[in-house]
Amino acid sequence: MKVKYFAWMKRTVGVAEEDVSPPASVTTVGELVAWLRGRSAGHAEALAAGAAFGAAVDKRTATMDVKLTGASEVAFFPPFTGG
């Protein structure tokens, strides 16, 4: 599974994207967040509980309870500031 980070989260984590293989017990976006926090201090900081960030599964906005079944790409990003 590919995980992407955008804007300041990319800097905090230290990479723009990475391939990860979470255990079978990780079935939702929220569980993936919790698992990713253990990868490095940067991950833990960027994905900290209470940090303002959103997620997308296969390029669709997703809440933390969304299932990862069949997902090939998950992205994490700060609130949008376009326009």
């Binding site: 992407k4 955008f6 804007a7 300041w8 303002a52 997308a56 390029k59 669709r60 906005t61 992205a75 990003f77 700060p78 609130p79 949008f80 500031t81 376009g82 326009g83």
Partner: protein
């Protein structure tokens, strides 16, 4: 009905000409052009000018999100033609960032749909602004007013 995400600038006149050509049911065309505003940030006791920003986006998701927003506008208003062009990359104060245009038989629908598209793309399309300040680059935080503007279009 077109959505484009591009690095290069756009020609507003040429875009509108192309959008409305041959579409004789359009009676009103509402257009919004977003520009890079010269901003000021407080750094300690100083107020410094921000002259440029870099807009990052999520290729693939951005187009999808804009197409969904456009489709939602079409469900709500009688739209004969619509266009969203959003730039990414580095831009300086005064540069064009975004063009939103909606053509409808009547002006009310054109105005409303155009405003809706701008409000929703600000909060639902994956773009992030990085400002260049004298103290270094700084990511722009989300603006509460934008959420409020987008929320007034939520269906009750």
């Amino acid at each position: 009905m077109t959505v484009r995400v591009q690095e290069k600038d756009f020609d507003v006149g040429a875009e509108l000409e192309h959008l409305t050509k041959g579409k004789k049911r359009i009676g009103g065309l509402a257009v919004f052009v977003g520009l890079v505003r010269e901003m000021h940030v407080r750094e300690g006791y100083h107020r410094d000018r921000v002259d440029a920003l870099t807009l990052e986006h999520y290729p693939g998701m951005t187009e999808k999100a804009l197409e969904e927003i456009e489709a939602e506008a079409q469900r709500r208003w009688p739209i004969e033609a619509s266009l969203i062009v959003h730039r990414f990359g580095r831009m300086e104060a005064g540069d064009r960032i975004v063009l939103v245009a909606v053509g409808s038989p009547h002006r009310e629908a054109a105005f409303e749909a155009c405003e809706f598209l701008v409000d929703w793309l600000k909060t639902k399309a994956p773009f992030w602004k990085l400002e260049e300040t004298p103290a270094g680059d700084k990511w722009v935080g989300a603006h509460e007013g934008d959420d409020e503007a987008a929320a007034r279009w939520e269906k009750k």
